[in-house]
C-alpha cells in the first residue's frame, strides 16, 4: 500500500487495550480516507444506539492518502463521531502538523472507544502506542496542558489536547492541535472528554512517505507547489490571512451582523478586515506542515484590556463570530476572545453564535434575570463575554453557563417562548460566518444538505459562487450569479461530490482551488497507486456523500431535516441582498432529483446505492 499505511490503531480505554486494525484495502479505494473512510469504519464499528458521550461511542481520527506529502494544503486530517451537539454524524477537519507525523509513525488513523478509569493520554510513537494516566493535566487549559506535554516529552512531539470545555462535556468543545489548529465543529472535544482522554501526543523518527510513483509524484507536487506560490488569492491570504477579503464580504452582504439581523456595516469592515489585523497586531504568519501559504496568524497585543502575549491569532470565522456577529468591531477584543476560546477548548463559531442567540433572546425579553444569573450581555460588550460568559460556559457554571454549554438550539428548546426564532442553524449546527443571503444562494442549499449541519467547508460552493472554481472536465463551467438560484442545484451536485472528496483526501479548501480535476486524479494515482479516471474519482465522492446520508438516516434524519432556520431564508433588510428571496425549496427539489434522493426519506434509491457499490449498506437500510 502506498500513500496510506494500511494500519489503524484501535484503542479501548475501558480495558486499557491497544491493537492494530487493518481496514480492507478496497475501503481506501472506495472511501478514499479522512471523512469518507471514517464514515465506513463508523458504519461497521459504531454503535448507533450509543449516546454521543457514552463509553460505547466511537471517536475516529483518519488521515487522507496525501498526509505526509510535501504538498501545500495536504496536511489536514479528519475526526469523526456522533455529535453531542446535533445527535447525528459529524466530521471535522484540522490542519497543523499532526497528520503527517501520524502517517510517518505508521498509521492512517485511530479508533477510540471506552472510557479511561482516570484522566489519561495516548502516546503514539513509531508503530507503537501506549495509554498513560495523567490526572495532573485534567482541568488545565489547552495552553498549559500543551506546554506541560511538550516539557515532558519534548518540543518536537505533536499534540492533540482538549480544554476544560471538553472535560465538562460542553456540546461544542473542540480538540486543539498544538494549541493553534482545531477540530472545531460539532463538539468532538466533548466526545474525547467523555472518554477521559485529555490528549494524544505523537512523535515519529521516520519522515518518509512511500508513494506509488516517486518521479511523477515529485514532478506533480513541484508543479502544484509552484502554482500555490504564484497564486494571486493565496498570496493575498499569505499577507492578510483568511480574513483578507472581509471588506469585500461586507459589501456583498456575506458577513453576518448581530446574529444575522443585518447584512451591512461599513465601518466594521475596515476595523475587522485582515489587513487591519496585519497592521495592528500581526507578528508573523504561520503555516500547516509543508504549506507555503501560511494563512495562520501569530499576533500580540501589548496593552489595553485585551492585551495578549504572542500566540495564535484569529482567522476569519473567529473574527466574524466574536466581532460583527456580536455587534463589535473591536479587533483586539476578537483576538482575546479567540485566544480564550482556544484555551478553554471551544469552537469559536458555535460559541459566538450561541452567545449571539442569547443576546438577542435576552434583548427581546425571552430570558429573564433568573435564567441568566443576573448577567446582562449586550451587543458589542465583548469584555463581559470574555470575563464572564466564556469561563461560565466552559465550566457549565451557573444557570446561564450550563444553558449555553448545550449550544443555541438545545438552549432555545429549553427556554421555549419562541426563542428558537433567533437560532441560526441547520440540523442543530450553528451556521458559520457566511450568510447565504449575501454570500450566495447555493450556499443555502449546501448548508442544508451538509451532513453535519450548516457547514461552509462540506463543499466548495462558497468558492464556486465567488467565481474561484472552473472545472469544465466535470461540467462545471457556470458563471454563477451569487444572488440567484440559477444553476445552483446542478452546481451543488458538483460541490457536494467534490467536498466529499476534499474532506476525505483531507486537503485544504484554499490550496485545493489551484488543483485541476485531472491533477486531482493524477495525485490519487501517483500517491496511492490507484488506476483512476475522472469518473472513478467523482463516483467515490458521490459514494461518500451517500454513505454519510445513510448514517444520518440511521440516526433518524429525513428530507425535512435538510432545512435552514427561517432567519436565513427571510430576505435581508439591508445591504446588497436587501429584499431578495432565496428560492430554497425549488433548489432543494431539483438537487434531490439530480442526486436521486427520495423527497421524503432523503436517501437514494436502492439502485443508486448499488450503482455506487453500497449494496451491503443498502441492504442494511432497505432490506435485502
Amino acid at each position: 500500500m502506498t500513500g496510506n499505511t494500511g494500519h489503524f490503531l484501535r484503542v479501548d480505554l475501558t480495558v486499557d487495550s491497544i491493537s492494530l486494525f487493518e481496514p480492507p484495502p478496497n475501503y481506501y479505494t472506495r472511501f478514499v480516507g479522512g471523512s469518507g473512510l471514517a464514515a465506513k469504519l463508523f458504519w461497521e464499528n459504531g454503535d448507533f444506539k450509543a449516546d454521543a458521550l457514552s463509553p460505547e461511542s466511537l471517536l475516529i481520527f483518519a488521515l487522507g492518502p496525501f498526509a505526509g506529502l510535501r504538498l501545500s494544503g495536504a496536511s489536514r486530517f479528519s475526526a469523526a463521531a456522533r455529535s453531542p451537539l446535533t445527535g447525528h454524524w459529524a466530521d471535522s477537519s484540522c490542519g497543523g502538523n499532526f497528520a503527517p507525523e501520524l502517517r510517518f509513525a505508521g498509521f492512517d488513523g485511530i479508533l477510540i472507544s471506552g472510557v479511561a478509569r482516570v484522566p489519561s493520554i495516548l502516546v503514539v510513537t513509531d508503530h507503537s502506542a501506549r495509554i498513560e494516566s495523567s490526572p495532573e493535566l485534567w482541568e488545565l487549559g489547552v495552553e498549559a496542558a500543551t506546554a506541560s506535554l511538550k516539557q515532558r516529552f519534548g518540543r518536537s512531539y505533536k499534540t492533540l489536547v482538549i480544554g476544560p470545555a471538553g472535560e465538562n462535556l460542553v456540546k461544542f468543545a473542540c480538540i486543539m492541535n498544538d494549541g493553534h489548529d482545531a477540530f472545531g465543529r460539532a463538539g468532538l472535544g466533548a466526545v474525547m472528554g467523555s472518554k477521559r482522554l485529555k490528549a494524544i501526543v505523537l512523535k515519529s523518527s521516520n519522515k518518509d512517505l512511500l508513494v506509488a510513483d516517486q518521479a511523477k509524484c515529485r514532478e506533480l507536487v513541484t508543479e502544484l507547489n509552484n502554482r500555490v506560490k504564484e497564486s494571486v488569492t493565496l498570496n493575498v491570504m499569505k499577507e492578510n490571512g483568511t480574513a483578507a477579503n472581509l471588506e469585500g464580504g461586507v459589501h456583498l452582504g456575506d458577513v453576518p451582523i448581530r446574529n444575522f439581523t443585518s447584512n451591512f456595516w461599513e465601518d466594521m469592515s475596515d476595523a475587522l478586515t485582515g489587513s487591519t489585523l496585519s497592521e495592528k497586531y500581526l507578528i508573523r504568519g504561520a503555516n500547516c506542515a509543508f504549506c507555503s501559504v501560511a494563512c495562520k496568524r501569530i499576533v500580540q497585543i501589548d496593552e489595553g484590556p485585551f492585551a495578549i502575549p504572542k500566540g495564535p491569532g484569529p482567522e476569519y470565522e473567529t473574527i466574524a463570530a466574536f466581532g460583527s456577529l456580536l455587534g463589535s468591531m473591536d479587533l483586539a477584543a476578537v483576538c482575546k476572545a479567540g485566544r480564550v476560546c482556544n484555551d478553554l477548548g471551544m469552537d469559536t463559531i458555535s460559541c459566538g453564535a450561541t452567545i449571539a442567540w442569547v443576546i438577542e433572546a435576552s434583548e427581546k425579553g425571552h430570558i429573564g434575570a433568573d435564567q441568566s444569573d443576573g448577567l446582562k450581555v449586550k451587543w458589542g460588550d465583548i469584555q463581559t463575554v470574555i470575563d464572564e460568559l466564556l469561563p461560565s460556559i466552559a465550566q457549565k457554571r451557573g444557570k446561564l453557563g450550563a444553558l449555553l454549554a448545550e449550544g443555541s438550539v438545545a438552549a432555545a428548546r429549553r427556554i421555549g417562548r419562541n426563542s428558537n426564532e433567533y437560532t441560526v442553524h441547520s440540523k442543530g449546527l450553528e451556521a458559520p460566518m457566511h450568510d447565504p443571503r449575501g454570500g450566495g444562494h447555493g450556499l443555502a442549499l449546501t448548508y442544508s444538505v451538509s451532513h453535519r449541519g450548516a457547514c461552509h467547508v462540506s463543499s466548495p460552493m462558497l468558492f464556486m459562487e465567488m467565481g474561484a472554481c472552473y472545472y469544465p472536465e466535470i461540467g462545471f463551467d457556470y458563471e454563477l450569479e451569487p444572488l440567484s438560484s440559477e444553476n445552483k442545484p446542478e452546481s451543488a451536485v458538483v460541490a457536494m461530490t467534490l467536498g466529499a472528496l476534499e474532506n476525505s483526501a483531507c486537503m485544504c479548501q484554499f490550496a485545493d482551488r489551484e488543483i485541476t480535476i485531472p491533477e486531482w486524479v493524477q495525485l490519487f494515482n501517483v500517491v496511492a497507486g490507484l488506476d483512476w479516471e475522472i469518473d472513478h474519482m467523482m463516483k467515490a465522492g458521490r459514494r461518500i456523500f451517500y454513505l454519510q446520508r445513510l448514517i444520518n438516516y440511521r440516526y433518524g434524519l429525513r428530507a425535512k431535516d435538510d432545512h435552514l432556520s427561517p432567519r436565513l431564508l427571510t430576505p435581508a433588510v439591508d445591504g446588497a441582498p436587501e429584499g431578495i428571496e432565496i428560492d430554497f425549496e425549488k433548489m432543494k427539489t431539483k438537487f434531490y432529483k439530480l442526486m436521486d434522493l427520495d423527497q421524503i426519506s432523503g436517501i437514494p434509491s436502492k439502485k443508486t446505492l448499488q450503482d455506487h457499490n453500497l449494496e451491503l449498506e443498502a441492504d442494511t437500510i432497505l432490506g435485502e
Binding site: 494571486v232 488569492t233 471588506e247 469585500g248 459589501h251 489587513s275 467565481g467 474561484a468
Partner: protein
C-alpha cells in the same frame, strides 16, 4: 476588439476615468491606500495599449504606457475585458480563475478597491458619455 476602434481609444477612456476618480474623495482615498505602482497591461491588443497608475506616496498620478519604474502590480488582460471590468460587468475573481486576468505582484491593495467597483462604473459611464461614446456603455 469588440468595443474599440483602435488601441488608443481604451487608453483615452481609462485615463480619463482615473483622472475623474482622483477627484472623488472616497475613490481617491481608496487609491492612496493602495500605495502601489500599478501597470494596466492590455498590450495583447497593441504595443502601446497600456497605462499606469502611481498611487505611491499619498498622491495619484495616471499616465499612458508602461511605467519607467518596476511596477508593484501588473494586471494583464484584454482592452475589452478591461471595459467590462470598469463597467462592473466582469467578476474579477472569475476572470482571474479563467485566466482572463493575469496578475503579477500583490493584489491586496486592489482587493480593497473591489467593493468600490460599483461607484467606478458610474464614473466610467459618465466618462464614456462625455467622450461621445455612449454606444459603448454596457447596460
Amino acid at each position: 476588439m469588440e468595443f474599440w476602434k483602435d488601441e488608443t481609444e481604451p487608453i483615452k477612456a481609462f485615463i480619463e476615468l482615473f483622472e475623474r476618480a482622483k477627484h472623488d474623495t472616497e475613490l481617491a482615498e481608496g487609491l492612496k491606500k493602495v500605495n502601489q505602482l500599478i501597470w494596466f497591461d492590455y498590450t495583447e491588443d497593441g504595443p502601446s495599449c497600456s497605462f499606469h497608475v502611481d498611487c505611491r506616496g499619498g498622491d495619484v498620478k495616471v499616465a499612458p504606457g508602461k511605467p519607467s519604474d518596476q511596477p508593484d502590480l501588473t494586471m494583464s488582460l484584454s482592452a475589452d475585458d478591461a471595459h467590462r471590468s470598469w463597467s462592473n460587468k466582469l467578476n474579477p475573481v472569475m476572470a482571474i480563475t479563467r485566466k482572463k486576468i493575469r496578475i503579477k505582484g500583490s493584489a491586496t491593495g486592489l482587493l480593497k478597491l473591489a467593493p468600490k467597483l460599483k461607484k467606478v462604473a458610474v464614473i466610467y459611464s459618465g466618462t464614456l458619455k462625455d467622450l461621445g461614446w455612449e454606444s459603448k456603455i454596457l447596460s
